[in-house]
């Protein structure tokens, strides 16, 4: 995805004299129409989910678009166990993201700047940790978590998420650091900075878009995890995505509550992305050009 954004401007034919561009050959509204249709197509499942969550129980599957919106599904969620799971999700994802950034960002910087032997191999081995399918780790994780008393704890989830996020942070941040000219750091050194001062006052602010993009992706990855939360938690640390499955019961499927919970789980990700959208695009593109 990242490379597509970056490559788009370079691979496009220069809109020149010889060949009229798509824009010149077609009326403007055609492009707008195509955009709207595509957007609706992509957004359809989300919109469908949201409207279900607002329907009263009786009208859940009526084909009419007209219904009286109600918050009864959300209220039902609020009274149940869902808020607890939601908090678990927030705590474990946030903690994993913060820790991954704190550990991973300096590591990426060191890999980018350090002149040490086998730096490439170290980078590669960090990536290798992501190559095996996560399922492969389930049994060892489950057994060791039982043994370490980490089963069904938030700390346990944070540790699992951290192992995956760390590689992501290091590999996303390294190209950002690579693209910051060394001269800036040398100028800072001459201006009187220690290595840490240079990193904190010059390098890190310049990597800001990259930090934002990385943190968001990191958070979303932990937030969206279903598999590990399902295996490694039971009641105390179960997360929101796992809680949604709980609405599938013997007596029936609680569609309204599932939709409401799904909407709520989606919200932080959507808000977060809108909030840092500018940095996200810039960040992804900037990183990919260099990497």
């Amino acid at each position: 995805m990242a490379s597509e954004i970056a490559d788009a401007p370079t691979t496009r034919e220069p809109s020149g004299r010889s060949k009229p561009s798509w824009r010149q050959r077609n009326p403007l509204w055609l492009g707008d129409l195509a955009t709207v249709v595509l957007a609706l197509l992509v957004l359809f499942p989300f919109l469908w989910l949201i409207q279900i969550s607002l329907r009263p129980k009786e009208e859940l599957f009526s084909s009419s678009i007209l219904f009286t919106p109600t918050l009864e599904n959300y209220l039902a969620l609020w009274k149940g166990n869902f808020p607890f799971s939601f908090v678990n999700s927030i705590v474990s994802s946030t903690a994993a993201t913060v820790l991954a950034m704190i550990i991973g960002v300096p590591a990426a910087y060191a890999l980018s700047r350090g002149r040490f032997r086998s730096g490439r191999q170290i980078g590669l081995w960090i990536l290798v940790t992501r190559m095996a399918p996560p399922v492969a780790f389930t049994i060892p994780l489950y057994i060791s978590f039982r043994w370490l008393d980490l089963h069904d704890t938030r700390l346990g989830l944070v540790i699992v998420y951290l192992t995956f996020s760390l590689a992501l942070v290091i590999w996303m941040m390294k190209p950002f650091f690579d693209s910051i000219p060394r001269e800036l750091e040398e100028a800072a050194a001459i201006d009187g900075c220690t290595t840490w001062q240079t990193f904190l006052t010059v390098t890190l602010p310049l990597a800001g878009p990259g930090l934002a993009a990385t943190a968001v992706i990191c958070f979303i990855q932990s937030w969206n995890d279903f598999f590990f939360a399902l295996i490694l938690t039971r009641t105390q640390a179960s997360t929101a995505p796992v809680a949604i499955v709980g609405f599938i019961q013997y007596v029936g499927w609680e569609w309204g509550r599932m939709a409401a919970a799904g909407t709520l789980v989606m919200m932080p990700v959507v808000l977060f992305s809108i909030f840092v959208r500018k940095y996200l695009v810039r960040g992804l593109a900037a990183g990919s050009i260099k990497g």
Binding site: P181, E183, L184, E186, A187, A188, A189, I190, D191, G192, C193, T194, Q197, T201, V202, P205, L206, G208
Partner: protein, 351 residues
């Protein structure tokens, strides 16, 4: 008194030796230019003085202090980088004051010193801007400003004008000259442009392949280059070099009359004779030493450069403006008083 001293400094990157046994003394308050083609080790030497590159062997002293293993921040130096290296996320004022801020200077004093420097460099109206909003010349000034607010002992400039266009380069050259004469700080200036070196320097250090070739004042080097390399590097248009041989007590070249030989030369010795194009004279047929077959005739405005063959050897003559055309044969005189004699094998100066 010397402000910077290098003692037998070497720099190796793996097996490649880029700086070989450089020993130098740079005068207090003077402007020293490191001059040489790219890859001659001049920038590496500068970076070793700055502390951005480690010294493989030897010592560097600033003032009386051995700084060989000190961090850049402990050396009391300021530096201007080739691509300016301004912090993109800081304003002009913040860029200039950053070094002071890091060193714990108080806010009002920083402001005062930045203001003074900005005034000196004509940046007063730009203090709130960011580097992105500046032109090349302005960025260059900010980079200079960042260096001078610091009140460092030595200023290091690494090809500071190479990213500017020709006209701006001349203008900034003048400004750097005036600035240096005004603040009287020791500066080390790295360039591959001999015009910059000639116009700015109190002292030029010419380097080649990591070795110092010659150290001296600009005119000293121009008048008495120590070897063929320096002779060819300094001066524009380039010095002519003619192969001659000592025969019967006089210097002879193919197609030319004999010249009185220097007494120190041995009979039969092969000599390379250097003579600057502006010292070769277009003469009357009687007084001429030989003839130049003009192949190229470049009009330079007040003068004109004739390039052609002199008895089979290439010769450039800077002649007064006249109507000479390609293909003509022009009688020329080579006044022996202006000869630079070099040993043909080693290239070392003989006279």
């Amino acid at each position: 008194m010397s402000v910077v001293r290098l003692e037998h400094v070497h720099k190796r990157f793996g097996d490649v030796e880029v700086v070989r046994d450089v020993s130098l003394q740079l005068p207090q308050g003077g402007l020293t230019v490191f001059l040489g083609p790219s890859g001659c080790g001049k920038t590496t030497t500068l970076r070793m003085i700055a502390g951005l590159e480690s010294v493989t062997e030897g010592r560097i002293l600033i003032g009386d202090q051995d700084v060989t293993s000190l961090d850049p921040r402990d050396r009391n130096i300021a530096m201007v980088f080739q691509n300016y290296a301004l912090y993109p996320h800081k304003t002009v004022a913040e860029n200039m004051g950053f070094g002071l801020k890091i060193r714990g200077v108080s806010g009002p004093e920083i402001e005062q010193r930045v203001k003074t420097a900005a005034q000196m460099l004509g940046l007063s109206d730009l203090l709130a801007r960011r580097p992105k909003q500046l032109s090349g010349g302005q960025m260059q000034r900010v980079a200079l400003g960042r260096a001078i607010v610091r009140d460092a002992e030595v200023f290091l400039l690494d090809e500071p004008l190479s990213n500017l266009d020709a006209k701006l380069r001349v203008q900034m050259r003048e400004e750097i000259f005036k600035l240096q004469r005004r603040i009287r700080k020791s500066m080390i200036y790295v360039t591959h442009d001999q015009t910059e070196a000639m116009t700015l320097a109190d002292q030029i250090v010419i380097m080649r392949d990591g070795r110092v070739q010659q150290v001296g004042a600009p005119l000293e080097i121009f008048d008495r280059p120590v070897n063929l390399y320096v002779a060819g590097f300094i001066g524009s248009p380039e010095m002519n070099v003619l192969d001659m041989r000592v025969e019967g007590g006089s210097l002879r070249a193919a197609g030319a009359a004999g010249f009185t030989a220097h007494p120190a030369l041995a009979e039969g010795q092969a000599i390379k004779v250097g003579i600057r194009p502006d010292h070769v004279e277009v003469a009357t047929t009687e007084s001429a030493h030989g003839a130049l077959d003009v192949e190229v005739c470049e009009q330079l405005g007040t003068t004109m450069l004739l390039i052609g063959s002199f008895g089979g050897q290439r010769l450039r003559v800077l002649a007064p403006r006249a109507s000479v055309a390609t293909g003509e044969r022009v009688p020329v005189r080579l006044p022996p008083a202006h000869f630079h004699l070099f040993d043909a094998a080693s290239g070392v100066r003989l006279n």
